[in-house]
Homo-oligomer: 231 residues x 2
């Protein structure tokens, strides 16, 4: 297991910072452990700092009054989360839960604000992260409102293939129920769409491994959002 020193150095957010500033950052980082299923923070909790994932996997989600979950993000190693309240001073706007045994670095609000005030290149880096996240949300809102579930699934598979550097097969890093929530639907619907897409020979599903049999077809589906039926 890496220590805080090594972990901080490997975080993209802090990439390119001079050694003395990395040291400052290390000083304020606190290491925390969470088991699978453990809550990291809940919506409404005071936002007294943000986290960076050293090891593990974390989901950020909202819950409706009926208990239905909408996953906003799945974050992996090296990714920061919970930064919003650090700058707005407001409580966390969503919930965070470890979906695998995780080790996180926690950065207390006050210390970090001081750090960033003194350090323009760290703030530029932070601005880039937030901007990127804003861009992702833009896409997610577009998907939710302009595409039907099959289109969202196709987009996600293509994105994942790209992410994993594979052109014709992907492996889901989350359960299908969680994928359903990430896509803004429910497991039953997702399951039906998997079989429909299999019937159409677009994909082949084997547990968490998915073979992409018809890339052009998937691209079409992801772009023309609506209608799986014929087209």
């Amino acid at each position: 297991m890496k220590n805080i020193f090594e972990t901080v150095s490997a975080v993209p957010l802090f990439d390119g910072l001079p050694d003395d500033q990395l040291n400052e950052i290390r000083k304020i980082a606190v290491s925390k452990h969470f088991n699978k299923g453990e809550t990291i923070f809940s919506e409404g909790d005071p936002g007294n700092g943000f986290y960076v994932i050293a090891e593990g996997l974390v989901k950020i989600f909202k819950v409706s009054s009926e208990g239905k979950e909408q996953i906003l993000h799945i974050f992996g190693i090296g990714e920061p989360f919970g930064e919003v309240p650090v700058f707005t001073g407001q409580p966390f706007p969503a919930n965070a839960e470890a979906i695998a045994k995780s080790r996180l670095l926690f950065f207390p609000r006050e210390n970090f604000v001081d750090l960033i005030t003194a350090n323009p290149s760290l703030s530029l880096s932070m601005l880039a992260v937030l901007s990127m996240r804003l861009r992702q949300f833009t896409v997610q809102i577009e998907n939710l409102s302009l595409k039907e579930v099959p289109g969202r699934l196709a987009s996600y598979l293509l994105y994942l293939a790209d992410e994993q550097g594979k052109s014709d097969s992907v492996r889901l890093d989350i359960s299908k129920s969680q994928l359903a929530s990430l896509l803004g639907t429910i497991p039953e619907t997702l399951s039906r769409i998997f079989s429909k897409m299999t019937d159409m020979k677009l994909i082949k599903v084997d547990g968490r491994d998915i073979k992409m049999l018809d890339r052009p077809g998937l691209i079409h589906l992801s772009e023309h959002g609506k209608n799986l039926t014929t087209s």
Copy 2:
């Protein structure tokens, strides 16, 4: 009409900056005019800078391949938009169009990055704006996926009443068609929901003026997202 000097001073983003830095900002700002319906930028355009609204109203939106529009934001006086590509260096992720005669200040990318690099408190201000926007998107995604249209409308009305400082009536600053798009639906559906909510004596609609007759009922609807029928 205010000049660039006065306009820049009034922008919350630049609030609290010392005079010499405000002057630097004024130097790089370019004033641009747009008539109602004019495109400011389109998705995919190179992001060579961002805008601040001096006068008018601007919508930020995505379009599906079938031409359906999803409005992401409506921005008014003093609000910045298009900042994302300034920090990611990527093209604009959505479209911007003036929905009223507008005067905008344009800040070219390079100049602004220099400015922010030299100026920690400006960057903190920028971080706060982006964080706030991220928080809004969080809510919007939650609404789109966890609530049905009546719940989203109720939320919006309550939000607007709060915004306008009125407790029992609001005035829409955008057309009902545009509101439909902002809520992720279509004008027909929105119209039907307006009449349903009127039948239930939750609201009274008179053109763009809406009286809120049953605030608790609206709150319940906005929280329990689903089901307008009985409940």
